[in-house]
Symmetry: D2
Subunit: 329 residues, 4 copies
Amino acid sequence: MPDTRIKVGVVGASGYAGALAAQLINRHPHFELAYVTARAEAGQRLGDLHPRTRVHLQLTEFDPDVPVDAAIVGYPHGAAAPAVAALRERGVRVIDLSADFRLQDDEVYREWYGEHGAPQLFGTAVYGLPEFYREDIRGADLVAGPGCYPTAALLALVPLARAGLIGGTVVIDAKSGVSGAGRNATDTTHFVSANEDLKPYKVAGHRHRPEIEQELGHDVLFVPHLAPMSHGELDSCYVPASREITPGELREVYADYLMEPFVELIGRPPGVLEVRETNDCRLSVHYDEHTGQIMVFAAIDNLWKGTASQAIQSLNLMFGREETEGLLS
Amino acid sequence: MPDTRIKVGVVGASGYAGALAAQLINRHPHFELAYVTARAEAGQRLGDLHPRTRVHLQLTEFDPDVPVDAAIVGYPHGAAAPAVAALRERGVRVIDLSADFRLQDDEVYREWYGEHGAPQLFGTAVYGLPEFYREDIRGADLVAGPGCYPTAALLALVPLARAGLIGGTVVIDAKSGVSGAGRNATDTTHFVSANEDLKPYKVAGHRHRPEIEQELGHDVLFVPHLAPMSHGELDSCYVPASREITPGELREVYADYLMEPFVELIGRPPGVLEVRETNDCRLSVHYDEHTGQIMVFAAIDNLWKGTASQAIQSLNLMFGREETEGLLS
Amino acid sequence: MPDTRIKVGVVGASGYAGALAAQLINRHPHFELAYVTARAEAGQRLGDLHPRTRVHLQLTEFDPDVPVDAAIVGYPHGAAAPAVAALRERGVRVIDLSADFRLQDDEVYREWYGEHGAPQLFGTAVYGLPEFYREDIRGADLVAGPGCYPTAALLALVPLARAGLIGGTVVIDAKSGVSGAGRNATDTTHFVSANEDLKPYKVAGHRHRPEIEQELGHDVLFVPHLAPMSHGELDSCYVPASREITPGELREVYADYLMEPFVELIGRPPGVLEVRETNDCRLSVHYDEHTGQIMVFAAIDNLWKGTASQAIQSLNLMFGREETEGLLS
Amino acid sequence: MPDTRIKVGVVGASGYAGALAAQLINRHPHFELAYVTARAEAGQRLGDLHPRTRVHLQLTEFDPDVPVDAAIVGYPHGAAAPAVAALRERGVRVIDLSADFRLQDDEVYREWYGEHGAPQLFGTAVYGLPEFYREDIRGADLVAGPGCYPTAALLALVPLARAGLIGGTVVIDAKSGVSGAGRNATDTTHFVSANEDLKPYKVAGHRHRPEIEQELGHDVLFVPHLAPMSHGELDSCYVPASREITPGELREVYADYLMEPFVELIGRPPGVLEVRETNDCRLSVHYDEHTGQIMVFAAIDNLWKGTASQAIQSLNLMFGREETEGLLS
């Protein structure tokens, strides 16, 4: 009997997201981790760099010619596009975790990120939010993994937008753990700087705003905050309602989530700890009669549902596996 | 030469706020800590219960007949009013840290707190925010210390209200450290529950909302969040501007703060760590052209400027001392 | 085809250890979670109390007559013994997580714990440390799960004892995260007390000392410390060597661990984060020529290898499953 | 009346220790902060780099010709010696926070640190632990501030050594917060690495060992651990007693500390939080009859009593001020 396991490489596995993607593929019953790459850390074992991955493969230099069925690319914005192009030329199906293929409008891309590294592929990716693009992802060769903030914000807000309930500027006050700032050691990520602190950042405009607006179809004021925790992300969304609405009607707006394996509408505001190291998004929705505002709170693990495990969810869809496979422990 | 130091008692010194008030009085050059009281912990030395106070006085049962010039009352809402009344009857000048005397409308009080414990005094207190009520505090016999959230929110928003710049519902997304939940050991304050978590609470209405609205004169949507840190509070305020405004004009709106010893408008969003264990409030203000919203971020230490050190600031005013005395270390 | 899955109940599933045991059984491919019990929380769903368990069963009152193949008992010391006895009378195979069946000497038990609640069973349990009692566990009907501190300490020290290398009093300086103090909300477990603190406790004698000495056959000075983290335990062990020894010889002493699926001797001191939420124990061993002391550092997750996942490891052995089943994610 | 305040410069004020020393001098009633220097950060205001210092002076390049009465040097080991020499040549009295002048044996220095940068001054400094060298410090022109670990360890152990109670190898299991690793952003100090972790480091020999042994006159096994907190240090010391001893006798050994303003022997093990941001050292001492070991636990704030505030304590002595001046808030 032939080995029918799907071979998956992880390009850029030294960062938090790539390393977790490698870990999840490695323990997946039907995917096989074919390789893990890194630049500065090539030669080290992934498990020495990130012990909890339990991946004993050695990090290698990226070589697009190594034959695999799929690859997850964990490079930074800008660096990802050429690697994705090289893989696509060889027929490899790709999930890119960077922002390089999330936007559809090339002018917006240029404004926030500069020149694109693979313009021939720009606009060809499916936006990798399975809850809204499930069927497109099944057939996709190139999936753009959403940003962590947009994942939570869109799961929180798209049902309201579809129901016509957004009646003004949406305010998204988002809070992220420090892993969201990446593995680079900086003044910001130093323990003594981040511990016992909490502060807004990039208030003049964060790159995730245009991504949210593209998918939501409404203007948003998006303000991220750095919170003193390793994992976790909470998007607190404030929406001027277009009309009065009852709690029952509000819940009805989110009724589709009853069928979603990883999204749960709960009756109290969610905390990030309850979804830590899971692919789950937990939401609550409330109507404030006093001000006519709808509040939606969405909690995810920024590295899991916000990045790496959501990529595995898409990979399951792309290769005809159960969407939840390898993600339920 | 007679001892001219002012004698101050702290009623309810076993909680975080009362204990800190006692510590600040104890180290103050012109106040003398006359007594510290507690119920369950009477008989213990305050310094054994709260080592960092370095206060060796024994906690006693409350006795309003002990002669003092002033008292700070650190009782919970409802329990404070009768103690305040007993002290006022004996001519003691009082700063009450509870909510019992903050509101001016007795129906609003009843709606949020129930029957008042000293109706004869209701409405007679000065709201203890020195930046806005400095002169009234100087002559006051009863000062109602503001809540920690309102302190930051009002310092952030009152200048905008006075300038007529608030053009719609104000959203206040507030984040507090766990000390804001008090010294009671509960499931919420357990280290394993709070650590690495971040979540909204009391989203259906927090008692600080009517207090903010009373002082601001505008409706607000106020949503507090519990953050995994001991101290600190950040109020992120989102205000639909009544008109377009330039950054320079916005700064001008806050120009009065240049004269304030404890309030500083800075050019980047403040974090809570930089004001930890100080009486300072640090603010930044920004205009988002994209959505026409004004953002104001205000950081304080919830136990210091938010409660206990702000009370000392008022006490300095009440007794003709320099406003900053004992608060600048 | 009959259902061959093994039915397992968890008695006392509202605490951290019992809840985790229930979670691990629930996701195990060959065990079926038959019931979860609690006293105060009966009627609630386990997943509402401990969201990350993802266990939707309702907590019920303990009823030993519910037919199961095995039960894990998560009751406190003293309360466990009668429940264990009731289950054993009905032929249920039991893993007890308390200290009630760990000791072999009933006088020692009485000294540290008082009267035993099921004296007829005292001394009949197998000590549930699979690395040293694997064969006994396979055939056991009653397994006493080791304490979290002894698990790490014995994995660190037994090889030295067997090699005759312990030449004097062993000092064990142990550090545990706050979950080791249990789910009860107390002054000690309050976030504001525990955060940014680190302190020794029970220095006059901790109940884990006699347990370690029983299994080690040597006197130890055991001093636990509470550290500001949720999970994790590090036992730092200092052993006067009975003779000079080279690094190579020292590693040889631990050579059996090469065959162990969950114990790994590494070349640098381990940290607790790298074994978080795993059944792994990571150790390092060093010889200090300057003082003639051997140092052994052992890191585990106190709730996993220290308690609940180690119980699943034993349960796998008792029911003839692969020892690692359900534990490798 | 002439200005009699003593002018003090801080050389190397961009690190945690130098910045805190500058803050403490700045708020001191009789010292005047003359300058603060830094290399990479020259041109910035100290208060922008370290907001809580509230020091508005601009960081400048080091210039030994600027006239001051004293200087605190916060340079790294090796870099400090030449700066100290330049200052001493100009008659400036110096407290050096580095290790460059702590050791008395130049061979030991060379073994651990390499060539000395100012050999003409080697061995001329007074060891800046006021509790043991008070009189020498009063007259000193060059004081070597002790390391943070030795400060706690020596306060814990010297009384035992003087009483002849040390009967074998002393084990010091030390735990430090992350600020002890300095302000450099590294993999080790990254929030995501350090948070929820606890691990030993430099187990093959830490530079503080020879310093402790020099002052103690006994061999020690010194093992530092990194703990997930910003501030704080706990030295847990295990000493084979040279004879049996009663608790009363043990307390008697530490009786001199009754006269010490900053050292307190307490009846329970101390935690680091209770001495946070103070110049205090809190100790407890216990005798374990079971093993004949004396245990001493000493808690300090590594940046305060462990470094910067202890330097102010020495500076007070050097200039004839009250030893506690500026240190009691």
